[in-house]
Chain length 419, copies 2
């Protein structure tokens, strides 16, 4: 089964927006064994969209369309689809009810343009959008499926995950395919490939393929295996190989699939009834932000002191002024006192502290940009470690935060715990 | 003059790589008045590339191709171009000399596959690649120009800037074009469209087009205008119309082009020599993270107390225990005490505080999920405001942080300041 993605929007053609939607959609489609044949990006003009739809219909079995479903007048996908499928708009009372409820829930007045978002082509099956007011639309003609989704990434992702992928899976008799990802932190791609070479060499004989998917600070190892329709044992095989690897590199492999370090740490703390605080300098609140992005984190997270200046490190965390003067803020002495200070003052089981030079300025010969000290304090005392990151401020901040969360995870697992 | 971009590579179709090249190329083309009509992404298969080339030749005057020029065997663009233009490869001694020199300069052994990179189609004009070994190729047929470049972003950029853009400018008598974006925060797309309807209605008569580009928490209004070659006044016209609007909605419009609120706030504080601290509950450190993502923010940002629990709100920020008990953490009383507390304790000119129910749990009938209180304290006292956000935790946290930064911006601008 072949798919074409059509992304609509002048903002893509003038280069103001980078198309990240297509990659997300392609990954989702691949996960159910559907192959993306082509991606076509066109303007907000009706004729152009019609031409792209007709060309795609010749080439593929499924056409996924994003963009052009907002309430303002530059959004014309819906009207164009009416022309293409020779149908008209009709007010959909169910969707209208959802839009009314959405505006009530956020306490804002609903306008006529929002009401019009519930007017949908008669020929389509509406797909519920839980994250916005523009519904998805599913059309079928001559064995080709067309799906239209909004271009706002967050809304598109919800529709893909909850509606489009499950329906495509059901509609087409796709091959079975299983994917399992092992999440790792702390080691780069080529170094990790060397570390796990023996294990990786054992995969092809089992029909398992391996892909490295790096992003700033973490590296995902994706295992895939295809099988005939009805073969339900694929995931068991992948799980077995994955567990083998996790046992081999427990400090690097921290979880599966899309699990984040903050989720893994949150789960450990919840199981153990333990608590956490952070004292952040170079990470500037990012660790707290990661931790609090997990629903329910208030059960184990007390808070953070983002001590960006030395004054605050001393006043809020009891870091010694003479150590700040003698060793500098980016030092073993200071980061350890930060961790101990916040743990004591917030009275938590664990604490994390960070201090480093994120860049682009502030480096010296002795401590170049990218020098970062991380510390974790817990019931048995404190550990700290120096890292040398790169020159990129944003990357340094993110990698520092993730490295600190992984350090915490390792320390928690060392600590005996009886439920 | 219309351009089509063809990007070649299986890695784009399986979603492992996000296509950032097209946006870069589009911006460059726009800057010389060339309009990108379509972007087409195809696989590394010869037939598919040939089909895309033929379709593009029907549609446009210029076809820019990236990808498939590396030395490894899955790169077949060069052979496909020979087929398409009915020509053969020929060793180009000048390019070969450059490749030899390149390998000498980096001290690596040159392989036969690298030598083969100097074999180019007879029908093309080679374009020098100063950043790698794959030359660019310029073809012309029946008034259509085809340019092939490597897909490595760094090499493509060098070729675009130094070769392709100057040659296209010379080859075509290009139109001028200008773009200017106005950044806004605090009002949704449809509501803003109503607010600024009169202003927006005045644009078409001036030949200016308007597009709404929303993302979580902010909304970008992009103005565009085309003009004859040599018309250098386009940007002045856009700037004038933009300033008109900014004067009309100063609390909503906060900046131009890709400016972020944290950059705008950082610039204001820097100019005034003022400082900032934050006390964050529901935003969990995100405001601090935004502020510290700006290089040089340590000059005005002292730090933050992320007070996720009530205990920390009392112990670190002096929030009254009886008010926490009586009004709850998500209340005007508590958020104002948080702002005043952190401002006093960190001794800053300004402070921001947040307290809300991000969800998905923790809501009640009186205070449903999405209820957020924000406060800003400064030299003249304190302001606070209640917001009703939606049901999505991540969205609520981000919109709370951006709304708080915009509240701060508005309060700073109210405050008289003499340099």
């Amino acid at each position: 089964m072949r798919v074409e993605i059509i992304t609509i929007g002048d903002e893509l053609l003038v280069g103001q927006t980078i198309d990240t939607n297509s990659a997300y959609m392609a990954q989702g489609l691949n996960s159910v064994g559907l192959e993306v044949h082509q991606i076509t990006t066109v303007s907000d003009k009706k004729d152009h969209i019609l031409e792209a739809l007709a060309a795609a219909e010749q080439r593929v079995d499924v056409v996924l369309i994003t963009g052009g479903l907002g309430p303002t007048k530059d959004d014309i996908t819906k009207h164009t689809l009416c022309t293409y499928f020779d149908t008209t708009l009709e007010m959909n009372e169910e969707i209208l009810g959802r839009i009314v409820a959405f505006f009530t829930s956020i306490g804002r007045e609903m306008l006529e343009v929002n009401r019009q978002q519930a007017a949908l082509p008669k020929a389509c099956v509406p797909l519920e959008n839980l994250r916005g007011t523009a519904a998805g639309m599913w059309f079928e003609r001559n064995d080709t499926v067309f799906v239209s989704m909004p271009g706002v990434p967050h809304e598109m992702k919800g529709l893909m995950d909850n509606q489009v992928i499950p329906r495509l899976k059901e509609r087409f008799n796709t091959r079975e395919i299983a994917h399992l990802s092992i999440m790792t932190q702390g080691v780069g791609e080529s170094y990790l490939a060397e570390m796990i070479a023996d294990w990786a060499d054992s995969l092809p004989a089992m029909g398992i393929s391996l892909a490295y998917l790096p992003s700033a600070g973490t590296l995902k190892l994706r295992l895939s295996k295809y099988g005939e329709n009805g073969n339900t044992g694929l995931m068991t095989e992948l799980r077995q190989k994955a567990e083998e690897l996790v046992k081999e590199i427990p400090t690097i492999a921290y979880g599966y699939n899309e699990e984040s370090l903050e989720e893994v740490v949150g789960q450990l703390l919840t199981e153990r009834g333990e608590t956490l605080s952070t004292a952040e300098s170079c990470t500037g609140g990012l660790i707290a932000k990661f931790i609090t992005s997990v629903p329910g984190s208030s059960a184990y997270f007390e808070g953070s002191v983002v001590s960006y200046s030395n004054r605050i490190k001393h006043a809020f965390l009891d870091v010694s002024e003479s150590d700040l003067h003698e060793h500098g803020a980016v030092s073993k002495e200071v980061v350890e006192q930060m961790a101990l200070g916040v743990r004591t003052k917030m009275n938590t089981t664990w604490s994390i502290a960070t201090s480093g030079i994120a860049g682009p300025t502030g480096g010296s010969e002795e401590k170049p940009v990218g020098t970062v000290w991380l510390a974790v304090a817990g019931p048995q005392g404190i550990v700290s470690r120096k890292f040398m990151m790169g020159n990129d401020r944003r990357g340094n901040i993110k990698r520092s935060a993730l490295s600190a969360l992984n350090m915490l995870r390792i320390e928690i697992l060392k600590e005996p715990f009886v439920n």
